[in-house]
Structure formats: C-alpha cells, structure tokens
C-alpha cells in the first residue's frame, strides 16, 4: 500500500557487488522471521481454528463436543438472525467516524501547524487517555452520562432534554463513546501528515489566487490524504468491531455485532455461531476497507 509508505525518494540503492549480495539479500528475510513466526503462531493458527469452528455442526455443544460437518449453512443462519446488529455496527462506527473527523481534523491541524512550542504537550494530551484502560475510560463516561449526573441535570434544566430524557442507554451515548475512545487513532496519523505540510505551499496557493477555502481543498487536504486514509481505517476497523461501548453505555437495543460475538462465545457457548459471525465481520470490514482504498487510492498521494 503506497499510501502509508514514508514520503521522500524511495529508490533502492544500486545493487551491491556480487560477493556480498548473497548475505545482503537474505538479511531482509532474516529480519522478517521473528514477526512472521509470531503472526503464524498467534494469528494464522487461531484463524484456521476459527474458520474450522465456523463450519462445525451447530447442534453440538461444548460438553458433547462438536462435529466437523462443513456446515456452510451457519453463515446464512447468523446473517438472518443478526443482520440488524451487523448493520448497526457499521452505522454507529460510520457516525462516530464522521464526528471524529469533525473534531479530529481541526485538532490535528491546529497541533501540527499552529501550536508552536505547545505541540508536544498537546500531543501528550491527545494520547493521555490511553494511559488508563479502555474499560475504565468507558466506565467514566457511564458516570458522566448517568441519569442523576450533573450533565443530564443541566441539560434538563435548560430544556435541551425532556424532564425524563436520558443520555445513557441511548444510541447517542454509544456513538459518543466510540468517538471518544478511538479518536487518538484518527488524530495521530493525521497529525503526522499535517506536520509535514510545508506552510510555504499554502503561501504559494494564496499567492496564486486561492482563497483560504480553496487552498485547503486543493493543497492541505490532498497532502494530508495519507494520514486521513490511515486514520480513518485505524478508527473505523476497531470501532465497528467494538462491544464495550454498546455494553456499558447502551442497552441490548444498541448492541453491535461485537456484543453478539461476545455472548456467543462466552454466554451462550455457541462456538460455530460465534466463529461464523467473527468471519463475517472480518469479511465485511475487508470489503469496506478495500472499497475505500480503491476510491481514496486512485488520487495517488505523493
């Protein structure tokens, strides 16, 4: 993927003389080895295991054992049973992404281009929430949004919320939680891209009759595309598979596909179903990502 490759000239140095080229050529593979082994053992094997589980006979159970019956019917079955949650996952993640972009782009831009000596401090502030656990942060939001919390009280007082209206246990709370929890994944790559943006290019654009809006559209935005693409993916992928926000900030009416998978594996102990849903989610995300990259990638960036 050229989009995430570092900028600058990417030409490899000319081939070294033959004598040393054998070892030189092996070196990259040797460097790859630990990572490849790790992936094979901890990702490849479980993935195969999961693929197999998704095709087990659905009538089996943990206690009686599962029979491998190549039950492809598991897939249509889970789609039929859980398509609302699947759609909801992408709906919520998409909504959260839009919110995060509205918040995150200006934030990343300000930190990269305008913050001056406050840059590092602001970056730390963006990352700081990650120092506490995901769970704790989401629980904190549960307190903030709770029915007898100050926020709800205030909103009721100014009549932005009906007297019996609530924030917690609504789609709003779940989307808010997703936005908050994954925002840094969007902001950091965006920041990296915008940081490299040469302000003299913006001056040149203004000198060439571009209004500030046009300069943004024609120069800033295209040049921040690598970060934007990376950031949206890093945001969207975990957000659409997330189940903690829906679990803690929503009700079963807000459950996303992650919650269903969670309960399939840990509550209902229906392994074939859980595995099939997991694969389905993965396939759906891959489809979305590839569709997106094909569109965003056409305007080859740098």
């Amino acid at each position: 993927m050229t989009l995430l490759a570092p900028t600058g000239s990417g030409h490899p140095p000319p081939a070294p003389p033959a004598a040393r080229s054998g070892r030189r050529r092996l070196l990259p593979y040797l460097l790859l080895l630990p990572g490849a082994a790790w992936l094979l053992i901890f990702f490849g094997v479980p993935l195969l295991q999961l693929a197999a589980a998704s095709l087990y006979d659905p009538s089996g159970s943990l206690s009686t054992g599962y029979a491998m019956t190549w039950a492809f019917g598991n897939y249509p079955d889970v789609v039929q049973a859980y398509w609302p949650q699947l759609l909801r996952s992408f709906g919520y993640a998409g909504l959260a992404l839009v919110l995060a972009l509205l918040l995150g782009y200006p934030l990343a831009y300000a930190i990269a281009q305008k913050a001056g000596r406050w840059k590092n401090l602001l970056l730390v502030c963006v990352v700081a929430p990650m120092f506490t656990s995901f769970l704790v942060r989401t629980l904190a939001w549960k307190t903030i949004l709770s029915d007898n919390g100050a926020l709800v009280g205030l909103l009721r007082d100014v009549h932005l919320l009906a007297p019996d209206g609530r924030l917690l246990a609504t789609p709003f709370a779940v989307v808010l939680g997703l936005t908050y929890n994954f925002l840094p994944f969007l902001v950091l790559p965006l920041y990296a891209s915008l940081e490299r943006l040469d302000p003299r290019l913006l001056e040149a654009a203004t000198d060439l009759y571009a209004s500030p809006a046009q300069a943004f559209r024609r120069v800033t935005l295209p040049l921040s595309m690598p970060g934007l693409v990376a950031g949206t993916l890093l945001f969207f992928i975990p957000a659409s598979g997330d189940y903690i926000n829906a679990e803690l900030l929503g009700t079963p009416n807000e459950y996303m596909i992650g919650n269903v998978i969670d309960s399939a594996f840990l509550v209902r102990l229906d392994y074939p179903q859980g595995a099939a849903l997991s694969f389905l989610l993965m396939a759906a995300i891959l489809a979305v990502v590839f569709g997106y990259l094909r569109r965003a990638g056409t305007e080859e960036v740098l």
Binding site: R200, S211, L302
Partner: protein, 386 residues
C-alpha cells in the same frame, strides 16, 4: 475575482515608509521606493538584508509593521494575498508536490475560474523549455527545471507585478543567460512590472532598468545600472557593486569646480560634480579599471593624479591583469590593466606608480572612524544585529 484591485489601469508600484520588524529586529527599515509601471527593477543586496521580506510584503504574505504598498493609487498593503494582482516566483520554488507540472502551472488560472487552460499552459511550458514535461511531478525534475516551472506558474497569470526572488539561482551559466534573455523578452513583451531579487550583479545590471542596492533593511542607492556603477552614493555600494579603491581623506572645500582632498599626506582633487561631500572626512574612490600602472612618475600624463607603491601581486586573467599595489602606508590598491597590448606588464616586486584621471574619481562622505576600503563587500549574511 472579488475585489481584485483594478485589473487594467495599473500604475506604478510604490512603497511608502515600509517597515517590518520581527520582535526587536528590524528587517526592513522605513523603505520608500517607486517602481514605474512596466519597468524591470532589480533589488540587490547581501544575504539577510531584507529583500525577501520586502517582496513578501508586496505579495501580502507578510504584514508590514507600518507603511504602505501602493499600486497606482490604491493601498494594497492590507489586501489579502489572493486578491492582489501580484504573483511571486518563490526562492524555494514551493511547487505543489501532489500536482503534475501541468496542474502546477494551471493552478492560478483554475483558481480564477478559467476553464480552458490547455493552450495557455502548453504555451507557457514551451516558453520555459519544458515541453512534454506536463505529466511529471515536481520531484521528478531537476532543480533548474523546478525553477522554470515556478516561473511559468507565476507568469501564466499575467499579473500587474511579478516578484522574482532569485528565480535563476539554481541554473547553470548557459541556461541562466538564456533565461535572462527570455525573461527580459517576456517582460518587454507583456509590459509587466518585474521586481527581481538577485545576488548576481551582472544579472541585475544587464537586465534591469533600475537597480537598487539594499543594505540592512534600507535602500542605499537606486538608479540606472551605469549611474550606480560610475558614481556610487556610499562606500557600501561602491564595494558591493563591483570593487572600488576607497582612500580615507579629508576634504577642504570646493574651489574652481574642484574639491581638494588630502589623503595619507598627498593632495588630490575631484571635480565638484563627482563629489558627494566637500568638507570633512571623505572617501576618495577610484575603480580598479580606471587606474593605470607605470614604472615611474615621469610617465604619468599631464593632469592625472598618482600614488606610488610596490607591486605585490599580479594575476593574469586573460582579458586583463589584476595587480595589487602596496602603498607607502600599507593599503593594497587593486589595479586592473586591460590586456590590450598597449601597456607593458609590470613585474611583481618592482616599484610602480598608479595614476588616474580625476574625472574618473568620486568623493563620498565617510564616518570619521572609517579607514581605507579596497575589498569588495562579500555577499555573505549580515549579522543579526539591529
């Protein structure tokens, strides 16, 4: 385009008391200039003297601390850059890396809502000899090619004023001369006012109608190239534009159209018309090529003035020989003798006499503490003192 400051009835570009301070450092100091419409104006000066800052204020990229930028009779100093009929060829090129060369050049036209740009862009690319490069990216061009793209990108807009910040700096000599001729031709053809910043004196003198020499945020002198060279206004100009032998002396007033000067115990005179001071501490200046070298004082023609010394160095440079003559008081004067076969070569180590026609000398006011100055001002950064 909204509010574009009057498209055609242009007028002169005038800078009035333009000042720019960065903190306590004054980069441009109360600068006033008039650049006639359609003229080719060259701004010369050592690195860091405020040339780029001046251009940036004209372009609107830097807000003046005080003063006005007038185009015709409208003050454009507070107008946003994209509303000024002014374009810049940036010192750093600032080409858009994500756009092709074609789109880079078309950028200005497109922003002004012009739809059919193909012909114009193609014409412009061939003008800067980059036909066929339209589909490349800036990173795929050499430095000189990028510079020409920057030129095309600005020129295509036919602004009222084109600001060129060392536009030819990265080109080799041959291409540089070619582009100079091309630039001059374009300028005369389209009648755009060019404000051209350069380190290359020769470039400034050959191309410009008017040359201004800038020093530490101020204009030291401006005028036709020959006027600046033949009769500089300050010691800085005398040694920035070419080289001068400046002897520290005392002027004793004008009599009979001549200013009498005493320097290092000898008496000289300079025509009043070539004197910028006639009393007190002065610099008596003679250009090295206006000095002639002979073996003894009796060979000096009538009416000329002379200094004797010891030849310490002679470098033969083909068209001329450049001598150093150490005077009795230790200053080394430069003498350029044309290699025209008329004058005999003077051997190093021999006593010699340098003489000149007083009409070729000039007299400049001098700070009392200042001594002889015979070396060119090096074109290197001026100190960041205010």
């Amino acid at each position: 385009m909204t509010g574009m400051a009057r498209e055609t009835p242009a007028g002169d570009l005038r800078l009035a008391n333009l000042t720019k301070r960065f903190g306590i450092f004054t980069a441009v100091d109360d600068l006033s200039l008039t650049i006639p419409q359609g003229s080719f104006f060259a701004l010369l000066g050592a690195s860091g003297c405020g040339k780029t800052t001046t251009l940036r204020m004209i372009a609107g990229l830097e807000e003046p601390t005080s003063g006005q930028v007038l185009l015709g009779d409208t003050d454009i100093a507070r107008l946003r850059p994209y509303k000024r009929p002014v374009n810049t060829v940036f010192q750093s090129y600032a080409l858009f890396p994500h756009l092709t060369i074609f789109e880079n050049v078309a950028f200005g036209l497109r922003r002004r809502g012009i739809r059919s740009v193909d012909d114009e862009v193609t014409r412009m690319l061939s003008l800067v000899q980059l036909d066929g490069y339209g589909n490349r990216r800036p990173a795929q061009l050499s430095g000189g090619q990028q510079q020409r793209v920057a030129l095309a990108r600005a020129l295509i807009n036919r602004p009222q004023v084109l600001l060129l910040d060392e536009p030819l700096g990265a080109l080799d000599l041959k291409l540089r001369r070619q582009m100079q001729i091309e630039l001059k031709r374009i300028q005369t053809e389209v009648g755009i006012t060019f404000v051209h910043v350069t380190h290359d004196q020769e470039e400034a003198m050959t191309m410009a109608d008017t040359v201004a020499v800038m020093n530490a945020g101020r204009i030291e002198q401006q005028g036709a190239p020959a006027d600046l060279y033949e009769f500089p206004a300050t010691a800085f100009v005398a040694n920035f534009l070419g080289q001068s032998n400046l002897l520290a002396g005392e002027a004793a007033g004008t009599s009979g159209g001549e200013v009498a000067v005493t320097a290092h115990g000898a008496r000289f005179s300079v025509p009043a018309g070539r004197s910028r001071a006639d009393r007190g501490p002065v610099h008596l200046g003679v250009r090295p090529e206006k000095l002639h070298l002979v073996g003894s004082a009796d060979q000096v023609p009538q009416g000329h003035q002379l200094v004797t010394g010891l030849v310490t160095d002679a470098s033969y440079v083909g068209v001329s020989t450049q001598y150093l003559l150490r005077t009795g008081w230790g200053t080394e004067l430069s003498v350029f003798a044309a290699n025209n076969g008329a004058e005999a070569r003077v051997p190093v180590g021999s006593e010699a006499v340098a003489y000149w026609d007083p009409r070729h000398a000039f007299l400049l006011p001098r700070d009392a503490a200042d001594t002889d100055r015979t070396t060119p001002v090096l074109d290197e950064p001026v100190g960041a003192s205010s």
